[in-house]
Assembly symmetry: C2
Homo-oligomer: 122 residues x 2
DNA sequence: ACTATACTTAGGTACATGGCTAACTATCAA
DNA sequence: TTGATAGTTAGCCATGTACCTAAGTATAGT
């Protein structure tokens, strides 16, 4: 079951749900069994298991079963991989000499010929 | 339209879609107009606009309209806010003296009384 | 062997999401 | 003022997602 090279797609998809993020938050404290993980949530167990599957498919967690009990634990490498995406975006952004100038430049020739006409900020 | 305090929920929701992540990647290079942003994608413009709305609602981008042209730009503060979530998870994780020990501990007394019986790794 | 525990599987439902076309509005350029 | 350009709005449709209940399997405890 362990997904050792989940796609960014799978990872972000897994992170999109608040229940799953809470599970990750819990697991960052340390491993836990299914029923322990499920306890804070109101939903039925099968619904909850679905979330665990998505997390495991996204490579964010792994699990091991011993007897009746399945224990889940975090895979920090994958969490780091997700964080890297943000680092990259921000790094590229930081490299732009001056973002404000870029914006004004992008807003273009209008500024000079039609100063402030039709301006609408959202 | 600008969402100055988007919830983590809105942010992660916005990040879940590959089209939207690509838009962010483009915008990390600098501002761009709607049609420029839309150009790499096969979808119809109204479908694409929907994505821009989600990004703006998530506070990840903002826009300004001048004449007919609406220009979008990145809001790095929000990207940073998302990254912080990952930092937090990883920081908590790092603080655990020894995650491997935790796992073994979580797997519990069985190990000692029933060594390796029924073991199943997924 | 018998019951409780801890998941697991199967299948079904409601709503959210991401896509579409058609039709409209507001500039800009000639 | 007329046409082209750049978005925008409205409404529809297919699929995916997150939930549910019911029923099954595998261990553990008595």
């Amino acid at each position: 079951m362990a997904n050792y090279q989940a796609t960014l797609e799978e990872i972000f998809q897994a992170l999109a749900d608040p229940t799953r993020r809470q599970v990750l938050e819990r697991l960052s404290l340390g491993p836990a069994a299914v029923s322990q993980l499920a306890e804070p949530f109101a939903m039925a167990l099968p619904s909850f298991l679905q979330h665990l599957k998505v997390l495991e498919q996204g490579g964010l967690v792994r699990s091991e079963k011993l007897g009746r009990v399945r224990t889940y634990y975090l895979v920090p490498e994958t969490v780091k991989r997700a964080r890297t995406w943000f680092d990259n975006q921000l790094r590229v952004w930081d490299r732009r000499f001056d973002q404000l100038d870029s914006l004004l430049l992008a807003l273009d020739a209008h500024e000079t010929t039609n100063p402030d006409k039709h301006k609408e900020v959202t």
